[in-house]
Subunit: 195 residues, 2 copies
DNA sequence: TTTGCAAATGAACGGTTGTTCAGTTAGACG
DNA sequence: CGTCTAACTGAACAACCGTTCATTTGCAAA
């Protein structure tokens, strides 16, 4: 048997990505086998190699896609205005983008050590660009006197850590809707850097 | 060859834990082999089974030890006083305890999914006790009117996330000493929940 | 209807995994 | 000095790993 009815490259390809993402988020990259991914797609293990040169590239593509999506979404969000408004924009954007992508966040932050050095560097560079977007807002606010903090870079990392940590415990079926979470976190961020 | 000079159970045992901790933090639980751990200890793979019934138990013991140490250290820190003072105490305690334990933090937060369900529940319960310590301080401060926040539980998780995220990027050989980091983070925490 | 080829099979590859265990060794004890 | 035993070796086990590839399949174009 081969090529079942209606089965095409444009269908199986995304299925492979989706299956890999879900399984890696659940069990970790090293713990997931190519045969598990294939089974979830409904295909034999060998067929996966029509869509990825190897397992490592599969992981890298997941992370690269996530970071590319993040940077593209941030760019097209086009947050403008005074630093205070932009900080609120960043905070709400971050939460809105990350909360519905729990699996991607998990993989992107937990599996960095399973990347080859050059792939690691490429992902890290993209993450850095995102961090710099926040840092720039904070510096602009400091310059205008609307924000006040001890160390801008450390504060950047602290705020990103707080926002990203949210993805690790928040459940979409939980007590609080996204909008409420947004409000709570924006309140914390706003006060933390207030002049 | 067997039982080299001065080699005893009380020496090899901790060596196994230390090697497992370091390797798992670096590569992840599933990616580390028993033979790698054994090599780092300076022993054959079979000898590890004098110190752990299996690989899974080795991971669990690392996490259990970390959480037990954390709770014991918190209890004996005996932070007292008004809520404001206790919040500062918690913040500084958390940073002081976690910063020198980067490997433990990494493993304890990243490898939860590699635990069996019952082992996961035991670790989660201990983590919950620690979170509750912070939540209690925040509630006490709210009752006295010195703290003000939208949702106490979410704020608890947000602050813990911010503090824990620190361990993921801070390097002891970096630009800032622990004391300075403590001051920066305490500043952020204090302002974030200020009335 | 025939042909061409993308897509998938399924078996096979060498290597590695966690774990077991009979046998070896070295230090402690009488 | 001989005996005992905790500690360790080294080889073996079946199972499973990522990856390859000759072969088969079924859709699309001619």
């Amino acid at each position: 048997m081969a090529r079942k009815q209606g089965s095409h490259s444009e269908i199986t390809g995304p299925k492979v990505q989706a299956a890999a993402l879900q399984l890696i988020a659940q069990h970790g990259f090293a713990a997931v086998t190519m045969r598990q991914i294939a089974a979830q797609v409904g295909v034999q293990a060998g067929a996966l190699y029509n869509y990825t040169p190897d397992k490592q590239s599969l992981l890298f593509e997941l992370m690269r896609t996530h970071m590319t999506d993040l940077l593209a979404a941030w760019d097209s969000a086009d947050i403008q205005g005074d630093p205070f408004t932009r900080l609120e924009g960043f905070t709400r954007f971050h939460i809105r983008f990350h909360l519905p992508r729990a699996d991607q966040v998990f993989v992107a932050y937990m599996e960095l050590r399973n990347l080859s050095p050059e792939n690691f560097a490429r992902i890290e560079a993209m993450r850095h660009r995102y961090e710099d977007a926040l840092e720039e807002i904070l510096r602009a606010g400091e310059a205008k006197g609307v924000f006040e903090m001890d160390d801008t870079r450390v504060t950047t990392m602290a705020l990103i850590g707080m926002l990203t940590g949210l993805s690790h415990w928040y459940r979409t079926d939980g007590r609080l809707p996204t909008a409420k979470i947004e409000a709570i976190y924006w309140d914390l961020v706003r006060k933390a850097v207030a002049a």
